[in-house]
Structures are given as C-alpha cells and as structure tokens.
Symmetry: C2
Subunit: 244 residues, 2 copies
DNA sequence: CGTGCGGCCTCACGCTGCGTGAGGGTCAAG
DNA sequence: CTTGACCCTCACGCAGCGTGAGGCCGCACG
C-alpha cells in the first residue's frame, strides 16, 4: 500500500547524499514518514514530493531557511521570497561583474607592462582599490571617459608634469612664499590646469578627491608626494586665483 | 623614530575590525612588529603597507590563503593567481546569470498566471529544474528557440492535444491492441507529430528526453501521465511507422 | 590612592551546508 | 556464523570573521 523508501533509495532518486538528508531533517526541512524498529528512516511518496520541491528551490539558490519558510507557509511567502532572491542575485551579479572588470583591467595592465614586479603591481591594485572606495561608480565611469577622451599620450604628459608642479609647490611652501605672489600664482595655475585635466571640471569628483586625501593622508602622500599641509597650501593658492 | 600603532589604530586606518586583525595574525597573514610589555600588539609602517596590500587583494575576492601565497612568494604566483581568480569569477558570473534567468522566467510566469497556488508553482519550478538537469544548455536554448518559433498559441494547442493522444495510447495499451494496427498507427502518427513539434527533429533532444523519462519515471508519470510501459509501447508503435 | 572607563588580551562558540570519518547496530545472503 | 552492505548517532572541519566571556592595562578624575 504505502510504499516506503530508505535513505539511500531516496538519496539515489533525488541526487542528494544520505548526509544531506540527515542534515535536512536536523534543519527541520524533511522528516521521514516513520522509523523502522531498528531506527532506520523510512520515507513515503509525500516526502519524496516534498523533497523534489526542496531540491528545486535549492537549485534556485534559496537557503535552507528560506526553503523551509516557503514550504511551510505555502503560498504567501513564495512570491516574495522569489522577488527577494532575484534582487539578491542581481546585486551579486553586478558586484561580481564590477570585480571582474577590475581584475581584468589589472590583468591587462600586467600583460601590457611586461615584467612588472610584485611591489609595483600591488601598489597599482591598491590605488584602484582606494579609488573604488572613494568614488562612486558614476564618478569612476566619468573619470574613465575623461581618460579616454584625453588619450594615452596626453595622460602620460600629465603624469610627467605633476611631479614637477608638486615639487615647485613644495619648494614654495618650504620657503614660506606668499600664496598670492606672482611665482606661486603661476604654479597654482599649472596645478589647477592639471587638476581640471583629471576632474574634467566636475565639482563632485574634485570633492571626492579631497575627501580621499583627507581620509588616506599616508597612502596619498606615498603615492603622490602631496601631504595635507601641501594640499592646504596649494588649495589656498588656487583659491586666490579667483576666476582668472 | 619607528612609529608604532595599536590594533584599533590600525583597524581605523584600514577599515578593518580588531577581530579581523587577530584573525589575519592567526592565519599567518600579518604579524605585529612587536608586542608591548602588557602583550599589546604593536604595528609599524611596514605592517601598515602589507595590510594595505592584503585589503586590496581581499577586495579583489582573493581568499586569505591565496593572499598569503601571493604576498609571501611575491611575484611568481601573483599573475597566476590573478588569472585563476578571473576564471573562477567568470564561471561564477555565468552560473549566477543562468540562475537569474531561470528565476526571472519563473517570476514572469507567476506574474502572468495571476493567482497561482504554491503547489502548481513548485511543480513548475520542479519541471524546469529537471529539464535543467537532463538537457545541456545548448539543448535548452534550442528548445527555447523552437518554442519562440512555434508561438504561444501553437504551444497551447500542443499542450491541449497531448493528454488526448496519451489517453488514446493508454487505452490502446490497456486493450492490448497491436501496435501495427491502423488505429494505433494513427495514434502513433499524432504522437510523433507532437513530439517533433517539441524536439524540432533534433535527435539529441529526443535522446535526452528519453533519458529523462528513464531517470525520473515517477516524476514524469506524475507530470505527463506517461509511465515507462506506455512509453515503450508508444515508442514501438512510432518505430513501426517507419519513414512514413 | 582608589576607581572608573576604555583598550587590550585570550579563548571559544556561532553561522552555512553539508563532507567525512569514528564507533557501533542491522539485515539479507552464503 | 560470518560477511558485506546499510543504517544509526555523534562530532569535527571548511571560510572569515562576529560576538560575547572573563580578565588584565592605562590614563584621567576625584
């Protein structure tokens, strides 16, 4: 009449392991219909059906807790759980794709830069990580678009120009020169020009960059040579330029 | 001279927690430069730098073990680890996108079918799950393309026609009619027609479907009303049709 | 000089979804 | 009676920490 199956039979029919069935029982997901005299688990058709549902939901990425909620409460939670699961997965995919993008960019750099040492590579990775933390995705895209617009050649020029300007500004600061003096104004104009080359005139990006320098003074100093004092001095000098 | 930082200072500067730093130490990732008399962990600039690297690599999704390998062994493993990580991530993205696709299809059905009860929904989910297990991705795409080509209206017609043909075949089997008789031949022709509507004449899909019926007789019987005996009978009858 | 509060320390369990034994009964066949 | 093949119940292990528990520093305040 009521056919009974042992754990291993059930396991074979569902593609699960015996251990998993034990686990599901412990998790309150599926209790055997009965036990034999020796304590063997015995399952019936109803349990098999329920298990099919469990397997299906698990294949959709639901957690055991979610599955229990869905099956126990029946209808109400299922639709909601489905929606939540979709939302979760969408976010996960987006995150992973961003991550993948970053990894691929790094791998690309590595392939282009021929034999690059680990230290340099890690520093580069660190830079992108910090950027990732301080700029929004839109801002990062804007920066990337800006870089594409400028072209690799111009970017190299800018990168060569920065140390010079920074050194000049540092020297002016060391000699305690008036930020309003003609010499410092000239430096500030170059500074502002290079900065705009990066920000593209986007006030938000400028703000985020300042925040980044404030949040990571040590790292930024190590990478750019700009410490908070120098930044303040240069900012003041640029501010004194007015709309000139 | 050599500035020393306490755990919580390091934690603040890196955005990690004190517990995480303890964990990294236990994992052999980052040992404090020294300890105070009271046993307090004391970190230096070098540790801070190393930790930046660790954070960066972690942000790229590397496991602590991988990170340790990368940082300890320096250059050699980093490139390889990067490539492996990219590969892993690509696979993960593909898997999750497939999953997302399935979930969205189900959600779509649910939205279309208005108020569908949980039982029916779970059965639908089960069907897609089993299909997923028995057909390759290419086959599933081919089936989907086939469905699009036929159109929703034709599919509904086919779905209405199947039970009728199955019932007829079942009746013929029950009466032990000769599979070669005119009546059964007529049934077999309709059966074959409906089947081709699904397979699109693809022998691989037909084979996989037979395998599915063999592997999941109970489920398939519950869903289609076709049991192994009936399937054998029908297959014989169809075979007897020849190239007719 | 005590005391209170914030850090710091070292265990150690918890979470997810089982895998993988350990140690020991059960059942049908030979 | 023995031998496999199954079954049982613990219980640890995995990754990466979170979150206490219980107790020792260290600095400031009264």
């Amino acid at each position: 009449m009521s056919t009974r199956y042992t754990v291993s039979q059930i396991a074979r029919r569902t593609g699960l392991t015996v251990r998993a069935l034990h686990h599901y029982e412990a998790a309150g997901l599926l209790r055997p219909a009965s036990r034999s005299d020796a304590g063997y688990r015995l399952y019936g058709e109803a349990e098999l059906l329920r298990l099919q549902h469990i397997v299906s939901l698990k294949a959709l990425g639901f957690s055991l807790a979610d599955i229990r909620a869905c099956i126990d409460a029946d209808a109400p939670s299922l639709g909601g759980a489905l929606a939540r699961q979709i939302e979760r997965l969408r976010e996960a995919v987006v995150r992973q794709q961003e991550l993948l993008g970053r990894l691929e960019r790094i791998a690309h750099q590595l392939a282009a830069g021929a034999t690059i040492d680990a230290e340099t590579l890690l520093n580069g990775i660190e830079a992108t990580t910090i950027m990732q933390n301080h700029f929004s995705n839109e801002q990062l895209q804007a920066i990337k678009a800006r870089g594409d617009a400028l072209g690799a050649e111009r970017i190299r020029e800018v990168e060569r120009a920065w140390p010079e300007v920074i050194a000049g500004m540092q020297a002016a600061l060391a000699l305690d020169k008036d930020p309003a003096s003609a010499e410092v104004r000239a430096l500030a104009r170059r500074w502002r020009g290079l900065l705009r080359e990066f920000t593209g005139g986007d006030a938000g990006i400028l703000q985020s960059m300042n925040a980044m320098f404030r949040a990571e003074p040590a790292v930024m100093q190590a990478r750019t040579g700009i410490d908070p004092v120098l930044l303040a001095y240069a900012s003041k000098a640029v501010g004194l330029l007015g709309e000139d």
